[in-house]
Symmetry: C2
Subunit: 632 residues, 2 copies
């Protein structure tokens, strides 16, 4: 892993290089052999006795040593050709960048503008533009082919095994197939059950899919604020987050240089980028929600559509008539977007302009295929407020808006809570599926208790795993700094790994085909004392190796047939291997043979003698290891 | 917090002093006013507008500034009097300590012996000794009165509220009352649904109860091994673990000085101590399981009974006929105790001596009221092996043994897995309740995936929270070092806090009365920007404060009405407070009044004017804060 040196302070330095013992490989789908769909192959040690393991790879070209990374130039814009070749779009002179787009920042405090300007594309009237429109028309796009190959991992080779695994889970009515075809992807998108967030202007994108019949995804939030952070840090946070597995990244910047920061992020991001446009709109009226207007908001949407943002959080469900429902809450309205809109509605005593102009918002977003992430502005901010009338009233409105957006041809997902005790989580999932016609659910956690500030990645990881199992399609991470401060690089990593755990635990419980292959490979490595393979098959090889080295630092111990918990002479895994070797002799016709429930004294004595004979020689090996350990 | 200086290297230094903004208070139960039942009171800031919050306190005298801690002398032995006054016991010359009790350690490597020797007590034939025997006879012991008061926390004052909270949960058939009486405790123990692990020789004990109708408990494992660790470290680990909330501690030492280490721990422990006696027995035959004998094991049990160990893990369910069921597993037998017994059974081709001598074990443990923790020696060590025939066959045997132990008058809990994907967790709980007659379940996690070495506190915290909700009475922690190395001080704390989260999330979901009081108090503090109260009400005030200070270090920011995520001019909680102030005017007869769904232009204009008037003055305050922030 390299962190690029950064002589020029205005150029972001980012982390590059492959993960330990990993290489980037590419799948070439039958339906479009020109596509190169990235996977990460974890290379096992010599003598592992099993093939290397391919895993899903979100990290983009940053982990590909054959690609020269230049954040000033941005990533290659392969996808522009896909969009152009299917037609229906025009390149045009985009909206002029205005000083207020960057908070009217003074020249000396301005971040360096991104080097290149790419003219935006937009859809032409009367043409299909969005993935939803193509799907409904029966057209399989390259994005669909790409995500189908990406979801399958090594499944083509593992079909038989995968089907057995699938039968084992409880998917609560999901329809996860054993093998993902482009046609299945198309059908799921056409039904609104999945989305491929993919603004036609995000040409750097490696497409991915969000839906309950696909792998559970995770999102990482980054973004500067009025108080702290810089452009450089945010670009590196994005690269760092996807290195560890973030499937999408939301840029929640609220301070200055907001347009420029987003441009740097987008031009360097292989994953979908989401934003909450009301944050920037608020900056443009100097932080006063009362001064927000539809015109100003619409102009901000156009600005971000042209830049290539893939999904917008839009809190159009915060209706005037719901606001008083929050008055008796313990923690009122905790969503930033929700509270901004609540304030606007009350100040003007008018229905939210996001709700009244929802048709226009759809028409605009459709032209660029920006997906909706319908925001839960009234989500609970504490256990006390979970599943209350305010929350569910808004969810019902989100269901109504989902149908409008679908009618307009837009892709839609729905945001969910928040703070919810375990026994109220499934109610959320069930109601979302019902109200929103199975549109993908995208939740923040939920946190299952309020009492552990500093550990809310864990309080929420519990809830995230559960709601992922119940059918949630994407889990928005929570870092240890939640409620306390802005996450730094370490917090981002901890948040991402925690949510990869939650998402994977959910995939296992749903009976997702092939999910268990990685668990099994790692467990075999663990059982066979292939320490290095155990580290490398894990979500965070560096931490696993460091933890092992704290107790047993020597390289020799990576091949030792014992572990530090028990020491060399007393290791349950070692003993179990003996048991297994012994049990194998039971089926050997040349062996003495035995009935496991047998009680005949003669057979028992023979068995006993045989085992002692075997055991002693096996234990000689263990004793040798023990002796070498004493030299430490 | 003080870590005592340690001039003499053989004297353990331990952490003392109260937690931040906390003081030790004592409840005095009506039924036994001489008892002093400890609670920790979290003192809120001036102007909090609500009372201080009492919480459960496992930390013992170490957090009581009025007690002088001397680890050489051990804690006060208050409980001896309770045992003596109810009679039926005799003091006697205990078993002589033998060189092999400490691994025949040479003089230069021997740990310093504990200063005092206390003659052991044992029960007399024909007398009631165990809590179960007293409970069945209708006798309420001091231990029962003590734990009843301890479980209630502030519930006496909160009954009305608590009952409302209770109605909200899903307890899966548990019977959690709104208020715990000594009689309820007695009845639960008599039914075998709860235990008070309390060896009559552990006079330093502050009794606690384990059962699904009580607060969910957690256990922390400590212990040296052949490879690393020392007596000093282990005593401090125990003190450190209970400081953060461990309800019981297991000493899993496997190396030398094992007897002496345990003596230091017991004499200084206010919480129940559990052990796995087969570990020490194995040390006594030089690590060779084949050489284990019933006599040697029995002698070890007596040794530990006399020392005061409160519960023994006994893997009596690993029967000869089950061992071959593990041969095709991915990870075989991963329990240390289970693999030792498996090896012994196969070597001798005999039924386990723990199973064949189970009656005698019961008779022995009854004399000291050592509780059974019936070990799950065949628990799954990987997702692939979860809920297999080997695991469940053993569980059925544990059910059979539970009934035998109950008949003998012994208290019993049952150990459970391990590695289990989410969809297979509830099956474990349901089967345990059925097979073992509702004896308390005590699980290790379970880990919900195998793919995150270095993060197994999280993979298992997910499973622990869920099985706690489903009815598991005690959760054995897993630290970040699981599978990789021995936990150090930081790992112990991380493990304990993670499991406090899991246990509390479970209590909330079960609808445990009063559990939510702490969440609500913390959420109010959060909403009202009482930063210091938010830190202090959390499970780890130090970490929360440090995280906050990383972003906004100044003391002034602890009273600032904004948080670092959003900055001063853009804070959802601030805006919500405005909304609430505004909503309050709606019920004011002197106010303009309005229907929240009203659309009359006139009313809307009036409302709008009123809000702008209010809002402007409120925002002046926020702007002032913002200005002061610029000075930073």
């Amino acid at each position: 892993m390299n962190i690029r040196s950064n002589p020029d302070k205005t150029v972001p330095a980012v982390t590059t290089g492959p993960l330990p013992s990993s290489r980037k490989i590419f799948a070439s789908p039958d339906a479009a052999p020109d596509l190169r769909v990235p996977l990460r192959e974890i290379i096992l040690s010599e003598g592992a006795g099993e093939p290397n393991l391919p895993v899903y790879d979100t990290s983009g070209p940053y982990t590909d040593p054959s690609v020269t990374i230049d954040v000033n130039a941005g990533l290659a814009r392969h996808r522009k050709q896909w969009v152009l070749e299917r037609g229906g779009v025009e390149e045009y002179e985009g909206r002029q960048i205005k000083p207020e787009d960057n908070g009217s920042v003074s020249t000396d405090k301005a971040a360096r503008a991104f080097s290149a300007y790419h003219k935006p594309l937009r859809g032409l009237d009367g043409h299909k533009i969005t993935q939803l429109e193509f799907a409904r028309a029966g057209i399989v796009t390259k994005e669909m082919i790409y995500v189908a190959a990406r979801e399958n991992l090594g499944r083509k080779q593992q079909l038989e095994r995968a089907e057995a695994a699938l039968a084992d889970g409880e998917s609560f009515g999901a329809s996860v197939p054993a093998f993902i075809t482009p046609e299945f992807v198309r059908d799921e998108i056409a039904r609104g059950r999945a989305i491929i967030p993919s603004n036609i202007n995000h040409s750097e994108l490696e497409p991915m899919i969000i839906g309950r019949n696909f792998l559970t995804k995770i999102n990482a939030n980054i973004g500067n604020s009025a108080v702290t952070s810089s452009v450089e840090e945010e670009v590196e946070k994005m690269v760092w987050a996807i290195r560890w597995g973030a499937d999408t990244v939301m840029d929640l910047s609220t301070g200055r240089n907001i347009h420029t920061t987003r441009e740097w992020i987008l031009r360097n991001s292989p994953v979908p980028i989401g934003t909450v446009p009301i944050y920037q709109a608020l900056e443009k009226c100097n932080g006063d929600p009362v001064k927000l207007t539809w015109e100003l908001y619409k102009d901000t949407l156009i600005e971000q559509c042209e830049q290539g943002v893939d999904y917008f959080t839009i809190h159009a469900g915060v209706r005037l008539q719901y606001i008083h429902l929050t008055a008796s809450r313990v923690t009122g309205i905790v969503s930033r977007g929700g509270s901004i809109m609540a304030k606007w509605c009350l100040a003007h005593h008018k229905e939210s302009f996001l709700y009244t102009h929802f048709d226009e918002i759809c028409d605009l977003m459709r032209k660029y295929d920006v997906s909706f992430s319908l925001g839960d502005g009234l989500r609970p901010g504490s256990i006390a407020d979970a599943n209350d009338r305010a929350q569910f009233a808004e969810l019902e409105t989100l269901g109504e808006l989902t149908k409008i957006a679908w009618d307009k041809g837009c892709q839609v997902m729905i945001e969910g809570p928040g703070h919810v005790p375990m026994h109220k989580i499934k109610i959320n999932m069930d109601k979302q599926l019902k109200e929103c016609g199975e549109a993908p659910f995208y939740t923040l956690g939920p946190l299952t208790t309020d009492i552990a500030p500093g550990y809310d990645h864990i309080t929420s990881g519990i809830g995230a795993a559960m709601i992922g199992w119940f059918g949630c399609a994407m889990l928005c991470y929570v870092t240890p700094k939640e409620h306390l401060g802005l996450p730094d690089r370490n917090d981002v990593k901890t948040g991402v790994i925690t949510y990869k755990i939650a998402a994977h635990a959910a995939d296992l419980a749903k009976g997702h085909p092939a999910a268990q292959l990685r668990d099994d490979a790692l467990s075999r490595a663990r059982f066979e004392f292939r320490w290095t393979d155990q580290f490398n098959l894990g979500l965070d090889p560096d931490t696993a190796k460091n933890f092992h080295d704290e107790t047993l630092p020597k390289e020799a111990h990576k091949v030792a047939h014992f572990c530090s918990m028990c020491g060399p002479k007393f290791c349950s895994m070692k003993i179990t291997q003996d048991v297994r070797d012994y049990a194998a002799t039971l089926n050997d016709p040349n062996s003495v043979g035995m009935s496991m429930s047998g009680t005949a004294e003669d057979g028992m004595a023979k068995m006993s003698a045989k085992f002692k004979e075997m055991g002693e020689s096996l234990y000689l090996d263990a004793e040798k290891v023990k002796e070498s350990n004493r030299v430490l």
